[in-house]
């Protein structure tokens, strides 16, 4: 199982987290932990770049929902970037593709 790597950078739109590896029962809490400490200024955008996401189960989905709640509490928005097909399928199944903004690439998502 590939471990999880979270790389943070700041774009003019707000924080960008590059999520690489597995969002599973073992590793998803790391992302939740990371996001809970993240300060997203009101009106800005939290971008989760999932191009390197290899696996995502229901714990991973829960972490993404936690990111959504966290941003909403800060009156910010969440954008998921480069969501792999398998995860897009799950998001669609549980109706979450309606509450997340999905973007094909990170450049566009970080340009205000």
């Amino acid at each position: 199982m590939s471990p999880l790597k979270i790389i943070r950078r700041d774009a003019e739109t707000g924080p960008v987290l590059e999520v690489v590896g597995d969002l599973d029962f073992v590793h998803a809490p790391e992302l939740r932990e990371h996001i809970s400490r993240l300060v997203v200024p009101p009106g800005r955008r939290l971008v989760l770049d999932l191009a390197g996401l290899e696996f995502c189960d229901s714990s991973g989905i829960t972490a993404l929902i936690a990111a959504h709640s966290h941003a909403q509490a800060a009156r910010a928005e969440v954008v998921l970037v480069a969501v792999p097909a398998h995860t897009r399928r799950i998001l669609h199944m549980v109706g979450l593709d309606q509450i997340f903004t999905l973007h094909p690439d990170s450049d566009k998502a970080t340009r205000s």
Binding site: H68, G95, L96, Q98
Partner: protein
């Protein structure tokens, strides 16, 4: 050993010859007699009939006897406990006669005060110049420490066994409690629905874990029946608590208004309010529906809504399989206000409505965790069982689940509602 650089260590070890000389000299001062009397073991010589001829001070002290009480008056076996005496007669003495020597035999000696000392005894027969046996020389080692150690080991083992027994009993009790709780999350029996055959199955991934899947079937009014099936995200007791809350919320909501969207909306509100801001968000996927049997036509109207749950399947008598899609139905409990989508279907005789949780479709079919059984394969599988009774379809699915072996690592719930094929509708299908 520490040496400074360049200095050679003494190959013989002891550097100071003076000390060892002094120690050696003091050893020489000990007479052989002194050594015999006060050796750290008991010495004893007997005639061939066992009569004690000589005994050292050490053994006399252990047994709390005076020399004149023993020498010429007692036999070796008189110094032993009853058990020791018996063992001496039956084993020790015969073996000694046969082999001429015997060593390390555990016996018990008797103290004059009645106490007993565990000892290890070795004996050898001394022969005369012509080979005739003259006497028996015996050494006795005090085994009290050793016995205490053995008893300690034995006691330790008993304690460990008791702890293990208790742990097993606790484990059995816990498993029983878990099984009872698990049962409380699922209905004991399903109500009889006129003209409908219902079958269910619950596969628990681990006997130690409470499951997060749920289902129920119940009457809602004179003509309609409600049913639901779903899956709480997560595992363990926390998930089971959500399962319990979910099941009873849906039941209560249906009493108030059995409309599928209304019940799921109530559940969404309850879960969202209960768990949002708790730092531990909890959601579930669920299908809630109503059945309205029509006794005149033998058909049944299905009206259902889904929140984030895989589509229910309608297995038609002729082998076609319809997926009851509810696109956009949101995972329950995520947002304060969620949208749920409804769909309807009509079941004719021979048709079966199948609800399942994703343990079935997400079962791994290869070594790779991304090769999953999937919805397409499931549709193919149920199509091959079209026209069968609901319980036969569930039986076939149970066999399928068993065939997944280790690939099935999630709880799986199945609920099949079928209209028996022999009740042919007047207008056919």
């Amino acid at each position: 050993m520490m040496c400074s650089a360049g200095e050679q260590p003494d190959p013989h070890g002891a550097g100071d010859g003076g000390v060892s000389h002094a120690a050696f000299a003091s050893l020489l001062e000990d007479s052989v007699e002194e050594l015999y009397e006060n050796a750290p073991c008991g010495y004893l010589s007997t005639l061939m009939d066992g009569t004690v001829a000589k005994i050292n001070e050490t053994l006399l002290t252990w047994l709390d006897l005076r020399r004149e009480e023993v020498v010429g008056r007692m036999r070796f076996s008189d110094l032993l406990s009853v058990g020791g005496k018996l063992y001496h007669e039956t084993h020790f003495a015969p073996l000694l006669r046969m082999q001429g020597e015997i060593s390390g035999i555990a016996l018990e000696m008797r103290q004059s005060g009645g106490g007993r000392i565990p000892v290890l005894v070795s004996s050898a027969v001394k022969h005369g110049t012509t080979g005739e046996p003259l006497l028996i020389r015996t050494t006795v080692f005090d085994a009290r420490d050793r016995r205490a150690y053995e008893e300690e080991l034995l006691r330790g083992r008993k304690v460990a066994e008791e702890a293990r027994r208790r742990a097993e009993a606790d484990r059995a009790r816990l498993q029983h409690a878990l099984a009872v709780l698990q049962q409380s999350l699922l209905p004991d029996t399903l109500p009889a629905i006129p003209g409908v055959e219902a079958a269910t199955h619950y596969h628990t991934a681990s006997p130690d874990q409470l499951g997060g899947d749920f289902y129920d079937v119940f009457p809602v009014d004179g003509k309609r029946f409600g049913f639901f099936l779903g899956d709480v995200c997560g595992k363990g007791p926390e998930a089971a608590a959500v399962t319990s809350l979910t099941r009873y919320t849906l039941r209560a909501a249906a009493v108030h208004d059995p409309d599928p969207v209304a019940t799921l909306t109530t559940l969404n509100k309850v879960l969202h309010e209960r768990y949002t801001g708790s730092g531990d968000p909890r959601f579930c996927t669920a299908v809630f529906g109503t059945l309205e049997p029509d006794a005149a036509t033998g058909r049944m109207r299905v009206h259902l809504a889904s929140g984030g749950h895989p589509p229910a399947l309608v297995v038609r008598a002729d082998g076609t399989v319809d997926s009851l899609h509810t696109p956009g139905g949101l995972l329950v409990g995520v947002l304060p206000a969620a949208r749920f989508v409804t769909t309807t279907a009509v079941l004719a005789p021979g048709d079966t409505l199948l609800l399942y949780t994703d343990g079935l479709t997400e079962a791994r079919t290869g070594s790779d965790r991304t090769s999953l059984f999937g919805e397409e394969a499931l549709r193919g599988f149920v199509a091959a069982h079209a026209g069968r009774a609901a319980k036969d379809l569930v039986e076939a699915l149970i066999n399928l689940l068993e065939g997944f072996g280790d690939g099935l690592d999630d709880d799986t719930a199945l609920l099949a509602l079928g209209i028996p094929a022999d009740r042919t509708a007047p207008d056919g299908r």
